[in-house]
Symmetry: C2
Subunit: 404 residues, 2 copies
Amino acid sequence: MKIINGGVCAASGFLANGIHSGIRKNKSKKDLALIYSEKKATCAAVYTTNKVKGAPLTVTKNNISDGYAQAVICNSGNANTCNANGIEIATEMCNLLASELKIGASDVVVASTGVIGQPLDIEPIKNGIPALVKGLSENGSADAAEGIMTTDTRMKEIAVSFEIGGKECKIGGIAKGSGMIHPNMATMLVFITTDCNISAKMLNKALSTDIQSTFNMVSVDGDTSTNDMVTVLANGMAGNKEITEDGADFEIFMKALNTVTMNLCRKIAGDGEGATKLLECTVDGAVDEQNARIIAKSVICSSLVKSAMFGSDANWGRVLCAIGYSGAEVDVNRVFVSFVSKKGEISVCENGAGVDFSEEKAKEILLEDEITIKITLGDGEGKSTAWGCDLTYDYVKINGDYRT
Amino acid sequence: MKIINGGVCAASGFLANGIHSGIRKNKSKKDLALIYSEKKATCAAVYTTNKVKGAPLTVTKNNISDGYAQAVICNSGNANTCNANGIEIATEMCNLLASELKIGASDVVVASTGVIGQPLDIEPIKNGIPALVKGLSENGSADAAEGIMTTDTRMKEIAVSFEIGGKECKIGGIAKGSGMIHPNMATMLVFITTDCNISAKMLNKALSTDIQSTFNMVSVDGDTSTNDMVTVLANGMAGNKEITEDGADFEIFMKALNTVTMNLCRKIAGDGEGATKLLECTVDGAVDEQNARIIAKSVICSSLVKSAMFGSDANWGRVLCAIGYSGAEVDVNRVFVSFVSKKGEISVCENGAGVDFSEEKAKEILLEDEITIKITLGDGEGKSTAWGCDLTYDYVKINGDYRT
């Protein structure tokens, strides 16, 4: 398997585009994205667990209930959520696009991200769709990735190639993250495309299994958005024998999918609102995987841990504290903690108590922009990893007046 | 019932003091506090739910297992938690104090607050105890309240007087809060004293009932500390007939206790680390009280809601979002939200969707330093209130480098 260019257009038969349509006032910011498959594709999706769900999610869920889709349209700048006419607008987006692309309206995945509770005007979208479709290109991944950004500072895309039964397959994806990112599924939009030939049932299985250890382990601020969605479209154009059951081919596909999703998770976490650092928390030796996940999430979500990391302060007591209140089954007297970065590793807590360590060395390690908080327990074989970011002045600044 | 002066010394027979002993380097900051009852008192306490528990809590729990105590000693600057010799040091604090006061060591409540995982030196405490005891005074409440402060910016005390069976009774308390404040019980230390005559059993019942709707509904940053504790000492010196069962007298006591605890909750929340505003979230019309509490807590804990309040931004979509992911049973289409302050009330969401409102008026209301987020549901009779604060640049600053 190898990392390749092309993002969401890396796989055969996928085109994409992103434009400024006028939903946003700032003309330099793209606000409408499109991904299109030349061939109808099997489709799987997972959605936010928030009870307040964006209208686009409801429409998408209905559209792809047959397991197929051919295009994805997504706007930024407005979440089309908590509006009286939300369903109507989301449906209209699908109709307008389908008519322009000459595909079925029920083959459209629709998504929106941005402010909640302000009516979404269909006009700019209606006016923008012809140009959006006309500009579809094999090189359009970056444009689409830009079109779905909100407070993201960096465009997020990735692709890999791999082989199944002698055929070269590709999976690529784009994502947006930033605020409101939290297990399970936060204003995180992820669109993945592949030319691998895989049944809708197995595609669903692959996605719903994969997210447990990837997107559901990412937290920026503990807020779970109303509009999250991860979708995968598989158009089969790689020509491999269709994957219809568990086995070696499915394992290879899962591994490739995981490479893409893990990469996007790290990109989303590292570009959390206001973040200066990507934080990774690894837990090993927990009673079981479930308890490992609870602990990793609790540490990565702690405002005090996040603030300490911003200050490059080896305040490991806060890590212990977050383990203690996580609710997980854990022997707090057998906890080992160390901090790891490119500059090395430093042990700060052994058997639940502090150890003498060089503050200077700790500072050097924590000044890096990718930090791993490594927790080793003595309770069993459970492992997990969670991703997050530091809590900074800029998070507060960005969110203190987001609407204006 | 009326609010009176005197704090933790308002009730008959209670003396207090607070000094700088040298645990902290900054000589202008008191770091050791003492509360003393001239008569042995019944005692009740509740502790953090964190599995990592400070050594002082273990020692206190053991000391007051007989239902009695006569003194409280508390240091700030060091939490005496996650240290190999924590129990030993906490026990020594009790022994040294008991010897100086000539009371039993098992009648001492001991508490510590500050950084976790750095050994607590007994020397400054040992050297400070004689002066601490010598300075005990009826006017010592403020000194004690100062002695337990960490990043608190304001000393917190309150007292009330009330009548039971023709006898005047008093309850007073001091508290410290600031960071790591979260349900249930965060680095929140609360010491309450009363001269009311009440059995240990009923005192326990009063406290454990009261905290469900008071201290457990306060959140500053979602982190639950290792060292929280709320204790009540009742020395019976008011001379009322001992309260030994439910009834009118117990009701009066509960009401007085609630006035004290509610006041301290608001003071703790309003003085959260870096806070510029006290936030109150009231929920009405929930399925039941439990669901009302879940919703109120979810909203008050949302980093996005807290940031919006810091920016005086009426971003009610985030309130809806936090209701949606709370996990509570709720009909999201029957949610009403308004913002309330001294400047008035403004409705921003009705039946789960936005309504037109004056942004100017909303701004005027939200610029105040005490804001109520009022949520009205259509699901039942459940009510609850939670308290918190806004998320500010200063929270990040304070916690980015707390240890130095």
